[in-house]
C-alpha cells in the first residue's frame, strides 16, 4: 500500500511539475504577447495605426439601406453608401450639399397639364415636382465578388451555385473581387427596391404618396412574389416616376410640392445599390450562410465593411476605390479658431480603419476610454461628476482629471424632443374645450421640467417651449421664443409661472384645490407607461410630486411594452411619455407630429397625442411646401402659438449631448444629423500610442503579493500537517 501511495504521490508530483511548466509557458506567452502594456485589448500589430476605436451596444438589425432606419445602423451605413446629397459638415443650420451628385438637384414644378411653373408657384397649383440629379462620373464601387469577372469578361460568381460549397462561409472566402463604375441606374434600382415585398421598407407608405407609380409597383411586385425564394428582377418592372436620362443622370417625379424630398435624398433610402449585388446574394446557399445584402453592404463610400460580427466587432476599412473628397474650407465663424479648418482641401478620409467593438456595459466602456482604448465617449450619469464640472455661471467644462488627460468636451443640442403627452381623445384631459385646455396648461406649469433636467439629467437638456429644437429653422431663442402659457419673461430669462397661477387655472377648469367642483371627487390623472422598473420609480415619484403641487393625484398604470403600445394605438392612454428623433433637419419633421392625418388612434401615425385642429392642419399644409424665409417663419410662429395655447403636450426638453474626445482626435464637430462623419475625422496615432503606454504600465507588485499570501496560507498548513503526522507516528 505504502509503495502504491509513494508511486501515486510521485505521479502527482510529476503532474504538478507538468502543470507548472504549462502555467509558466502560458504566462511567458501572455507576457510576450503583451509588450509594454498588458491590458491592450487590440492586436499588437494595430498599435500606431490610424484606426478609430468606438463601440456599439445594440447589434444592428438591418444593414440593407432600404430597410435600415435607426441611429446605430446609420453609423455603419453612412460610411459605406453615398446618397446623392449630404449635409455640410461644419455649417449650421444644416445645409445640403452634393455627395455623389454633381450639384444639388434641379427641381422643376409642373401643373396638371404638364406646363412648367415658377419656383415660387403656390403648392395647390403644383401637380408634380421633378427632381433631376446628375451624379459624378468615375465613382467606383468597393471591391466585391459580385463584380468579379474572368479574362473574357464573364462574371465569376453570378448565376453559379458557388455558395453551396462547404469552404465558402464568409464573403472573404471568395477569392476574386472586382468593381464597376457607379451609374444613375443604381440609384433608380434602389428606389424600386423601396417597393420590394420582402424588404419591408419603413418609408414605402410615405413615399408611395409622393413618388409617381411607387404604389402601383409595390402592388405588382406583391402579385409577382408567389415563389418566396426566387429573385425578383426589378429591372423588368416599370416605375414611371423614376427615369434614367443618361448614364449619370436620373429624374424623380413626385406628386405635388414637397421640398423636404431633398432631405430624404440625403438618407440611405436613396443610396445606390448595384443589381449585381442583389443577384449575387440571391443565389442558392448564400442566405443560409448569412451572406445577404442586409449583412454585407456594397457601396461607393469612403469605407467598406470588412468584418461583420455583430456580437463582437464590426470593422470598416478604407475603400481602396474611393475617389477621395476634399475636406471643407468653410464653416461657422468659430470653426477656424477651433482648428476645424486646418485640413481645408485635404483629401478625405484621413482614418484607415474604424473598429466598432460591442460593449454592452457602460463601466468597461468608460474605463477603456480612460485608458485610451476608445477615442470617444458619451457621458453617462454614473461618471458625470468624474468627467464634467459645472462652474458658478452654469458653464460646463471637463473636470481637472479629464483635462490632465487632454480630453475635450463637446456639447450639442440634438434634434430630438422628449415630452409628456396628453391623449386628446381622453374626456378628462383631451378635447378642445376651454375647461380641459386650462387643465392641461395648469399641469404643464406644475411639471417643472427644469427641475427634471437638473435632477435626472445632470443638466443635459434644454427646456422646450415648443416642438422645434434649437438649430432648426423656426426655432426662436430668448423672449420671442418662450411659451407664454407656461413661462414669464423675467430678469432676462424665462421663468416658469408660479404654482398659484396653475392652481387658479385648475380652478377655472373646474377643479378648485384639485377636486371636481361638481362632484367633490379628487382629480386623478393616469400615467400610462411601460417604464415600471426600479430605475423608473424615482422619476414617477418625481412626477407624482409635481402634480401634488396643484393637488392633483397621479395614478401610474404600468404595463409591459406591448400593452402600452396597444393603449397608444387604441387611444386609451391618458398621460404618457414620448419622444421624437428627427429624420431630417426641417421644422416640418416636428410639426407633422400634430397633424390630424397622423393621429395614432386613427391612422397609426406619429401624432401620439391624437391632436386634431383644422386650423393647424391648414397651416401645416402651407408650411410644408414653403421655402425657409420670413413668410415660412410667420406661419411656423402661428402654428407654435396654436400648440402652446392648446397644450397637447407638456413640452419637455431637447437632449443636450455631451461627448468626450481624446486630444489625439481631430476635426470633431458635434452634429447628430451628420451621420457620415468618420471621413472628416483624423487621428494622431503616435500621440495616442505614447499616451496609452504612459497610462497603462502594469503594476506588478500585486502578483508578488498574491504569491506571498498563498505561501502564508500554505506554509503554516504544511507545518501543522507535518506536526500532526509526526504526532500520529509517535502514537
Amino acid at each position: 500500500m505504502r509503495v502504491w501511495l509513494i508511486k501515486r504521490l510521485g505521479g502527482v508530483a510529476r503532474s504538478v511539475a507538468a502543470v507548472r511548466v504549462v502555467f509558466l509557458s502560458a504566462g511567458l506567452f501572455l507576457l510576450a504577447g503583451c509588450g509594454e502594456v498588458w491590458n491592450n485589448p487590440y492586436p499588437p500589430q494595430d498599435s500606431g495605426r490610424g484606426i478609430f476605436y468606438t463601440s456599439f451596444d445594440t447589434r444592428p438589425k438591418h444593414l440593407d439601406p432600404v430597410q435600415s432606419y435607426s441611429e446605430n445602423e446609420a453609423s455603419f451605413l453612412f460610411q459605406i453608401y453615398e446618397p446623392p446629397l449630404q449635409y455640410h459638415y461644419l455649417k449650421r443650420p444644416y445645409t445640403l450639399i452634393p455627395a455623389a451628385a454633381q450639384a444639388l438637384p434641379k427641381v422643376r414644378f409642373v401643373d396638371v397639364a404638364g406646363r412648367d411653373l415658377a419656383e415660387d408657384a403656390p403648392a395647390d397649383k403644383v401637380a408634380f415636382s421633378v427632381y433631376e440629379l446628375r451624379i459624378k462620373p468615375d465613382i467606383l464601387y468597393q471591391p466585391h465578388p459580385a463584380f468579379a469577372k474572368d479574362a473574357a469578361g464573364r462574371s465569376l460568381y453570378l448565376d453559379r451555385p458557388i455558395a453551396e460549397r462547404r469552404e465558402i462561409t464568409k464573403l472573404a472566402d471568395f477569392q476574386h473581387t472586382g468593381t464597376r463604375e457607379l451609374t444613375a441606374a443604381d440609384y433608380v434600382y434602389q428606389i424600386k427596391r423601396l417597393a420590394h415585398p420582402r424588404l419591408h421598407s419603413p418609408i414605402l407608405e410615405l413615399m408611395s404618396d409622393y413618388i409617381v407609380g411607387l404604389k402601383e409597383l409595390s402592388q405588382s411586385l406583391r402579385q409577382a412574389d408567389s415563389d418566396k425564394s426566387a429573385w425578383i428582377d426589378l429591372d423588368r418592372y416599370a416605375l414611371p416616376g423614376v427615369e434614367i436620362i443618361d448614364r449619370y443622370t436620373y429624374r424623380i417625379r413626385i406628386k405635388g410640392k414637397y421640398p423636404q424630398f431633398s432631405q430624404w435624398l440625403a438618407m440611405t433610402f436613396f443610396v445606390p445599390v448595384p443589381v449585381e449585388a442583389d443577384r449575387f446574394y440571391a443565389q442558392a446557399g448564400m442566405a443560409e450562410k448569412n451572406l445577404t445584402l442586409d449583412w454585407y453592404p456594397v457601396g461607393t463610400g469612403p469605407y467598406m465593411l470588412t468584418e461583420n460580427d455583430p456580437n463582437a466587432r464590426m470593422v470598416l476599412e478604407r475603400n481602396p476605390n474611393f475617389r477621395g473628397e476634399p475636406y471643407p474650407c468653410e464653416g461657422e465663424p468659430e470653426d477656424a479658431g477651433a482648428g476645424l479648418l486646418a485640413d481645408c482641401g485635404k483629401t478625405m478620409p484621413f482614418i484607415d480603419k474604424i473598429v466598432f467593438v460591442r460593449e454592452r456595459e457602460a463601466i468597461p466602456y468608460w474605463n477603456k476610454f480612460l485608458q485610451g482604448y476608445y477615442d470617444a465617449s458619451g457621458v453617462a450619469s454614473d461618471n458625470f461628476d468624474q468627467a464634467v464640472q459645472i462652474g458658478s455661471q452654469a458653464d460646463v467644462s471637463v473636470s481637472e482629471e479629464m483635462k490632465a488627460r487632454g480630453i475635450q468636451l463637446l456639447t450639442s443640442v440634438a434634434p430630438t424632443n422628449r415630452y409628456t403627452g396628453f391623449n386628446m381623445l381622453d374626456p378628462v384631459v383631451g378635447g378642445s374645450s376651454e375647461k380641459n385646455r386650462k387643465l392641461r396648461q395648469a399641469i404643464s406649469i406644475a411639471v417643472d421640467e427644469e427641475e427634471y433636467i437638473s435632477i435626472f439629467l445632470n443638466g443635459r437638456g434644454v427646456p422646450a417651449h415648443g416642438p422645434i429644437p434649437p438649430g432648426l429653422f423656426g426655432y426662436k431663442e430668448g423672449r420671442a421664443g418662450i411659451n407664454p402659457y407656461v413661462y414669464d419673461w423675467a430678469g432676462n430669462e424665462a421663468r416658469r409661472k408660479p404654482v398659484a397661477y396653475a392652481r387658479q387655472l385648475l380652478a377655472e377648469a373646474g377643479y378648485p384645490d384639485g377636486r371636481d367642483a361638481r362632484t367633490g371627487q379628487p382629480l386623478v390623472i393616469n400615467l400610462d407607461t411601460a417604464a415600471a422598473g426600479i430605475g423608473d420609480k424615482s422619476q414617477i415619484d418625481w412626477l407624482n410630486k409635481q402634480l401634488a403641487k396643484i393637488d392633483v393625484q397621479l395614478v401610474v398604470r404600468a404595463t409591459d411594452y406591448n400593452r402600452f403600445q396597444d393603449k397608444m394605438r387604441l387611444g386609451t392612454a391618458q398621460l404618457f411619455f414620448w419622444g421624437w428623433n428627427a429624420d431630417y433637419p426641417d421644422p416640418e419633421n416636428f410639426l407633422f407630429l400634430f397633424q390630424s392625418q397622423q393621429a395614432k388612434a386613427k391612422t397609426m401615425g406619429e401624432n401620439a397625442a391624437n391632436y386634431q385642429n383644422p386650423q393647424y392642419d391648414a397651416l401645416y399644409d402651407k408650411v410644408k411646401a414653403m421655402p425657409d424665409g420670413p413668410a415660412r417663419q410667420a406661419v411656423i410662429d402661428s402654428m407654435v402659438e396654436i400648440l402652446r395655447h392648446d397644450s397637447p403636450w407638456i413640452f419637455g426638453y431637447f437632449d443636450k449631448e455631451y461627448a468626450l474626445f481624446h486630444g489625439w482626435v481631430k476635426n470633431e464637430k458635434p452634429g447628430k444629423i451628420i451621420r457620415g462623419r468618420f471621413k472628416y475625422l483624423a487621428i494622431d496615432a503616435a500621440a495616442r500610442e505614447a499616451r496609452r503606454r504612459a497610462w497603462n504600465r502594469p503594476v506588478l507588485w500585486p502578483l508578488a503579493a498574491m504569491v506571498l499570501l498563498l505561501a502564508l496560507f500554505v506554509a503554516p498548513a504544511a507545518s501543522l500537517y507535518r506536526r500532526r503526522e509526526r504526532a500520529r507516528g509517535t502514537d
Binding site: N39, E205, A287, E288, N290, N367, V699
Partner: protein
C-alpha cells in the same frame, strides 16, 4: 444500460414537446404576432399594411393552435404552433426574425461561451474540492475556522460585485489584463484570464462549503476509521478514499451542468464583451424574436436532459454497486 438509455431518450420526447408547448403559450400570452411585427419593423412609420404583410410572409397570420377554418388534419397543421415546431424537432432551426441563420449563430457563439465556462468549471471544481478537503484535513483548527469564515464571506458577495471589483482592481488599477473584449484563437487567452479568475473566485464560497459538508459526513464512516487504523496518512485517507466515496453527491451536482456550459453566462459575457450565447436568449426576448426563443429553450431542455442522463451514467462509472436497468 442501453435499454435504460433508450427508455430515457423516449421519455425525453414528450418532455420536449411539453416544454415547447409551454414556451409557445407563455410567449404568445405576452406577445401577439402584431407586437412581433411592430418590433421587427421598427417604431417609426409602421403601417397596418406592413404589419399584415410581415405576418403573412412569416406564417404568423395563422391561428395559434387550432385552425377552425381548415379541413381535417390541417386544423392542426395549419397553425403557428405546428409550423414553427415541427422543423425544430429535426434540428432545422430556421432563421431569426432579423434574417440570420440561427444554427450558424449558435455555432459561432458557442465557442466563446465554452472558452469561459469550461475552464471556470474545471478550475472551480479542482480548487473547491481541494480547498474543502484541506479544511476537512485541518478540521477544528483555526485554519478550518477562518477557512469557513472566508467561504461565508465569499458566498455573501454578489456576482456582480466580483465582476466590477475584479475589473476595477485587476484591469483598471493594476492594468494587468484587458478590461473586456475578445479575439479568436490563442489571443483569446489574454481576455479569458480575468473572467475565468473571477468566475472561479465567485464560486469558491458556496461550493467549498457544500463539498466540506459532504467530506465531513463521509469522513465519519467505518472504512475511513479502518484506513486510519491501517496507518495511512490523513492526506491519503482524504484525497484517495474519502474523495472517491464522496463522488456520488458531487457528481449529482456537477455532471448535470456539463452540457449546459455551452449556453454561457449572461452577466460575465455582458461585462467582459465575450460574444457568447449567454445573452442570445435575453436579446431574443427583448426583440420579441420567437424563432430564437423557442430554439434556445428547446436546446436548453435538450442539454438538461442530456446532463441528467450523463449523471446517471457517471454513477455507474464511479460506484460499482449501481446498475442502470
Amino acid at each position: 444500460m442501453l435499454a435504460y438509455l433508450i427508455r430515457r431518450l423516449a421519455y425525453a420526447i414528450p418532455i420536449l414537446i411539453g416544454v415547447n408547448l409551454l414556451t409557445f403559450a407563455l410567449f404568445f400570452v405576452v406577445n401577439t404576432p402584431d407586437d412581433m411585427a411592430r418590433m421587427q419593423l421598427g417604431i417609426k412609420r409602421v403601417t397596418p399594411e406592413a404589419i399584415a404583410h410581415w405576418k403573412a410572409e412569416r406564417g404568423y397570420d395563422k391561428p395559434l393552435f387550432w385552425n377552425a377554418a381548415a379541413e381535417g388534419g390541417k386544423r392542426l397543421s395549419e397553425t403557428i404552433f405546428f409550423a414553427k415546431s415541427v422543423r425544430m424537432f429535426v434540428f432545422d432551426f430556421g432563421r431569426a426574425e432579423d434574417g440570420r441563420d440561427i444554427a450558424e449563430e449558435i455555432k459561432s457563439r458557442m465557442g466563446p461561451s465554452l472558452a469561459i465556462a469550461a475552464p471556470v468549471f474545471l478550475l472551480e471544481l479542482a480548487v473547491t474540492i481541494s480547498f474543502a478537503l484541506l479544511l476537512v484535513l485541518f478540521r477544528a483548527t483555526r485554519l478550518d475556522f477562518w477557512g469557513v469564515v472566508l467561504c461565508v464571506a465569499l458566498m455573501s458577495i454578489s456576482g456582480m460585485f466580483y465582476i466590477i471589483g475584479g475589473q476595477f482592481l485587476i484591469s483598471k488599477i493594476w492594468r494587468l489584463v484587458p478590461i473586456s473584449g475578445y479575439q479568436e484563437g490563442v489571443d483569446a487567452l489574454r481576455f479569458l484570464v480575468l473572467p475565468v479568475f473571477i468566475g472561479v473566485i465567485a464560486g469558491i464560497g458556496t461550493n467549498t462549503r457544500w463539498y466540506r459538508t459532504i467530506f465531513i459526513e463521509e469522513g465519519g464512516r467505518d472504512y475511513v476509521r479502518t484506513a486510519r487504523a491501517k496507518g495511512l496518512s490523513e492526506a491519503a485517507v482524504l484525497f484517495v478514499h474519502v474523495l472517491r466515496n464522496a463522488m456520488i453527491p458531487i457528481l449529482t451536482g456537477v455532471v448535470v451542468v456539463i452540457p449546459m456550459l455551452f449556453m454561457g453566462s449572461l452577466l460575465t459575457e455582458s461585462f467582459f464583451g465575450i460574444p457568447g450565447l449567454g445573452s442570445y436568449t435575453i436579446e431574443a426576448i427583448s426583440a420579441q424574436d420567437f424563432s430564437v426563443v423557442r430554439v434556445m429553450v428547446f436546446i436548453g431542455s435538450l442539454l438538461y436532459i442530456a446532463g441528467l442522463m450523463l449523471t446517471d451514467i457517471s454513477y455507474v462509472l464511479v460506484d460499482p454497486r449501481i446498475r442502470l436497468d
